[in-house]
Subunit: 226 residues, 2 copies
DNA sequence: GATGACGAATTTGCATGCAAAGATGATGCG
DNA sequence: CGCATCATCTTTGCATGCAAATTCGTCATC
């Protein structure tokens, strides 16, 4: 079936952007797995478009590091070595730590109460063991912190990198217990924020992220997936 | 004159990549100033190509935030507000601080001696007051630190963000005295690295970068350039 | 003189076409 | 049976063409 994009909506958005978003999503969620070849004509057919907007979308994804263009030899979903994934996790951990430190010192009372509310809402999700809901919450939680840095450039960078790791995060979160531990770690971070101790919040955030990375590494080694 | 790209070289590289690199460079060095409209046909003529590779290049630049595509209304060089530039500087300062902390703990003796050598070489440059040479040195100095983190993903991110600020950094470095002060600050960072005190190196690096930002702000306010 | 409407001229977004590079696979040779 | 070679097929990279959207200039109106 062609034209799988929702073409009932006003097509104000550029076709190349819609294709980019769709591919971004499929890569992030793992629907398109690492190393998969992305044939231009095939994608064009699938989206009911010509190769031109598909190519533009692929170039944009390449600029963001989600796919790899091998000149004249096609485009593949960026293949990540375990080392690279760990490097990315460490980078995210450091950036998140940086963000929460800045956020602790700069957030407004309104932002603080919003974050508390968000955190409180996660209790029910953990109880239900709803992985998808927790994933959504987790994203909102971290983005709330990014924005509380009151540095929009930093927030954008953090979101971009966070997104690139999303595929792996989801796999990792499905591990048993991890949901529960994640919430406990969030709790500790919240306490540090409440006390206004940015350095402590920062260290706890780094530990939180590195715990997630460790959980993921175990998952990778157990399942032998890259 | 058309075809200003060097077409004597093997054209192994994609045309769209060559155009992207050329534009990237012109934006970074300020040759193309913020807000300038980028006409596709005009660029195509200038590079002796058709609009297709130009469009692909522009899309890639957009994905990196260097230009802004306004759907159906053309592409302009990303216009930066003074706030945004300061946000970028703060982000770079924090990332550099992070890098130097990690690098202090992880660099090999070889990397350390390379960095020392590099730093020593800057003395003569400062004495001559050679801004361009200092700019080149400065870039090498910071990149050496990025790589010494032994985290290639982080290094790539740092370089990418660093590059986006280059245009402004150059303007800032041309202020009197700044060259000298920059070297003194590097000296202090080197000392902390030599002592193996990553936290201290980190704080000094952050201060170093924020000093540069402050110098730039004064420059912007004095010259009313955005 | 400012403002708004309308038509021409650009300019963008996308489709299509074509040449060249790379992948594929059959054939011949060791 | 393995491997190199060559012809064929596929896919990419870029040019060109066309329709739709936007901008610009002109004119009429207030």
């Amino acid at each position: 079936m062609t034209d799988e994009l929702d073409d009932t909506t006003e097509d104000r958005e550029l076709l190349s952007d819609r294709i980019r978003n769709a591919l971004e999503d499929e890569i992030a969620t793992g629907k398109l797995e690492a190393g998969a070849a992305l044939d231009e004509q095939q994608l064009a057919d699938r989206f009911g478009a010509s190769r031109t907007p598909v190519r533009e979308a692929l170039r944009q994804l390449a600029a963001n590091g989600l796919v790899e263009v091998r000149a004249r030899r096609g485009v593949v979903v960026a293949r990540m070595t375990p080392e690279r994934i760990m490097d990315m996790f460490e980078t995210v951990a450091e950036i998140e730590a940086m963000c929460v430190r800045l956020a602790t010192y700069r957030m407004t009372p309104l932002e603080r109460s919003h974050l508390i509310e968000l955190h409180d809402s996660s209790e029910a999700i953990v109880k239900k063991g709803d992985f998808d809901a927790y994933d959504t919450f987790n994203r909102a939680f971290h983005e709330a912190i990014y924005h509380a840095t009151h540095n929009s450039f930093l927030a954008e960078q953090a979101i971009a990198i966070h997104n690139r790791l999303m595929a792996f995060r989801r796999a990792q979160l499905q591990q048993e217990q991890r949901l529960d531990r994640s919430r406990v770690e969030h709790e500790a971070i919240m306490e540090a924020i409440a006390e206004g101790d940015g350095e402590l919040a920062s260290r706890r955030m780094r530990a939180h992220m590195l715990n997630a990375a460790t959980a993921l590494r175990r998952f990778i080694e157990a399942n032998k997936l890259t």
